[in-house]
Point group: C2
Chain length 465, copies 2
């Protein structure tokens, strides 16, 4: 999506005022459509439409496709229905479904009947799929071939089939029941340009080498396959093998970025924003999404408060213990958060699977011992520097409680942080829910308990004496 660029605003307004159709046409075709849309975005919806009406329908749809979704919705809702219906017919079939989701229902109900039956049915098919299903991401604009065709006939079809914008790179061979039986790449076709009579069956990819997704598969599956095979587009079929559409490389890139951003948000305990951007999201909606998780995390803090109340006697008698409480618990929280993030991202990018749990457990046991040991040494040095000298000093032996607690808490938090995302995945929950603040909360409660319990066992008997 492009942002707006007010650089040419006065010139554009002038152009509209003077109603110079030729100049508008030249302006719209001089730059890449993405740049044209950037300049136009600084105008009002009505002004933009005045300019766009001067260019041909294909370019108009292309420029329109680069506007921010908010602006697209505004134009669709405010401009003449008949012209908008034509615009929507020209749009890539996946994009128009996305934007129509945001347009008010009254406007949609008026626009859809003005579209051709075929295009309207296409919109309705795509709208019938779940938001994160492959069917909702696909475009139904692709080039169809028949099995018996030759190179020459295939090339002629490219000219004949007009809605080919998204997928000229692959041509799809369907049988009479519209089932996908082969894929011809534009590359292979171009290489055979001088052998027009060669049948496509000889070089098309067929049966064993076809890779498809089901329209009801989650879009992660399409991302995974496109990453694995480096496809420009992947075909979407229904349960009978009938070909419904294609998901193209640009949609996969957008979806992959969206998935990873959602993961990052969940890892920081923010409910995913969905289609909204950070700055455009409604303040109250965002506050609700953030508060929901903060409130859940508060339960961890309550547990910690109760543990601290329970150990009241210990902290009352050995006041210096309190100084190192944040160090003990945050060491565990930071280390557990690292482990959780490493496992969550490795799961998200298919580097590891549930079957690797034993290897991960073994690895993180060793890692916890190493990091726990190193952190314990640091913790002991700090404890000595802060409390072993001067007024109210504490003995070196008593201070050993700090490294002991740090080691235990780091070791346990690290293992818990690494394994809980796997458990969540096993339970078919999103592993990213095992968010870092959640790990930190667990490790606050756990760390507080371990630290004060060790003190109760090891120091209190002597302190009381």
């Amino acid at each position: 999506m492009s942002s707006s660029n007010p650089l040419l605003l006065p010139e554009l307004r002038q152009m509209i005022a003077s109603n110079d159709a030729e100049e508008m046409r030249v302006f719209c075709s001089a730059l890449h459509p993405a740049s044209t849309s950037e300049f136009l975005s600084s105008l009002e919806a009505g002004e933009i439409w005045t300019i766009l009406l001067e260019v041909d329908a294909t370019l108009r749809a292309e420029i329109f496709s680069y506007f921010d979704e908010d602006l697209q919705v505004q134009i669709i809702e405010s401009c003449p229905r008949e012209e908008i219906a034509k615009l929507i017919e020209e749009m890539p079939s996946d994009d128009r479904v996305d934007v129509l989701e945001e347009v008010e229902q009254d406007a949609v109900d008026e626009i859809l009947p003005l579209m051709s039956t075929e295009e309207r049915e296409d919109v309705e098919l795509l709208r019938s799929y779940e938001d994160d299903a492959c069917g909702a991401e696909m475009s139904s604009d692709f080039i169809r071939l028949h099995e018996g065709m030759t190179v020459g006939q295939a090339i002629a079809e490219i000219g004949a089939q007009t809605h080919l914008m998204e997928t000229v790179y692959y041509l799809y061979v369907l049988d009479d029941a519209e089932r996908l039986v082969g894929i011809v790449s534009a590359k292979d076709l171009l290489r055979r340009i001088n052998r027009q009579d060669e049948p496509i069956e000889g070089f098309m990819k067929s049966k064993g080498t076809l890779v498809t997704v089901d329209a009801n598969d989650r879009r992660e599956e399409a991302i995974r396959l496109v990453e694995k095979y480096d496809f420009v587009a992947i075909p979407v079929v229904d349960c009978d093998g009938k070909m419904l559409g294609v998901i193209t490389h640009d949609d996969v890139l957008d979806a992959a970025v969206e998935e990873l951003v959602e993961n990052a948000h969940m890892s920081a305990a923010v409910d995913p924003l969905g289609d909204e951007t950070y700055l455009d999201a409604n303040l109250w909606t965002l506050a609700r999404k953030r508060f929901m998780w903060l409130a859940i995390l508060l339960f961890g803090a309550i547990t910690t408060a109760i543990i601290l109340k329970f150990f009241n006697d210990v902290t009352e008698q050995i006041v210096w213990l309190v100084a190192f409480l944040p160090m003990v618990v945050s060491s565990g929280g930071n280390c557990g958060g690292q482990a959780a993030t490493l496992v969550v991202t490795a799961l998200a990018t298919d580097e590891i699977s549930l079957d690797d749990w034993k290897r991960i457990a073994k690895r993180e046991t060793a890692m916890g011992a190493i990091l726990g040991g190193l952190m314990a040494i640091c913790g002991y040095v700090n404890a000595i520097l802060i409390y072993a000298f001067g007024e109210g000093s504490v003995s070196f032996v008593d201070l050993l409680i700090v490294p002991l607690a740090v080691f235990c808490v780091v070791f346990i938090s690290n293992l818990v942080g690494a394994l809980l995302p796997l458990l969540f995945k096993k339970m078919r929950l999103d592993p990213a829910l095992m968010s870092n603040p959640f790990v930190a909360g667990l490790s606050d409660a756990l760390g507080t308990f371990v630290y004060l319990w060790l003190a109760l066992l090891l120091i209190m008997p002597f302190a009381a004496a």
Copy 2:
């Protein structure tokens, strides 16, 4: 990268034992190369090479390109140098540079001289760029045209230029100094298949509509442009406008995923793993990367310990205060972490820029007040439930210190979490360095100070009396 699949292991071993060349050829061409590589991966390097030698060089390179990098390195290091040099000549120019980085220098020094001069120079050019520069990601295999060509001549060039694997979708028009002057899309060429004498100049994209990256630009720039314009490939030029190569959609997808995973790791205070995966990374290397940040974060904990020592008198006299210390600081840490993650991901996906800082500050001031207020109410309810009744109860008025501190800490941490990534960006540091544990550490120290200082001001005077 594909993983290994041992399903056909016995059959493959049998095939090698019986030395059945025809069967090996059939096996290698029956499936998609990515799937073939998955089955082959379960064999030893030497066995794989025996099978691959039976297929033609192009398919061999394609199957090879889908192996894990570790296996690629193993094969390159262990198989006959002359054959390997030929294999590397056939590989996409960006991929071979990546894998040669990992091969031991002795082997590289022996292999490079066996390659053709042209291919060797190409390897050396790509190796001269920084790891995260566009020049290191690009492939120098693209189809070159001249300005005066016709449709027919352009189509003939596709057949003539053999190394066109990566970029048949665009053809690049260069002038005599090899500067990029136009781009012809395969789509536009195919549509004009029956007008072979039409000059390409009439329909190629030229001057104002060309979008390129500089070889020294960081790869984020290529990702941004491909996301914006939905390109299948973007041309890479040097400072004189000379065309050096292209970055293709699959490389952009891989790079975008890698960038976001690096971001996620940094946000959890893990130094990026680079090319290594979580399970393959050396335990000690990973331990070092994790410990480095844990040690830095420890300084936050030391500050907190010193603050707590400073307020010793307060916690000694009003022991119940300690119970709510974790709640106060973790509320701030969680809220600040949310704000930091939202801003860091919005920066990474170009939703916001530095110029938006005023809007962000205003927004997060309101957000901090809302969330601070809500969390304060929750905190007060908890404080009352835990400490207002039964033995050692505390007055409702004294407990007001808890919501007061929660509000201040949440408000400040939220604003700091949102603005520090922007400050880091302004200082040309990576905003993701403003990691969530770092925000949590700041908010531990800050929260502890605010909480105990408020207690010193508001409760101590009366407690002492």
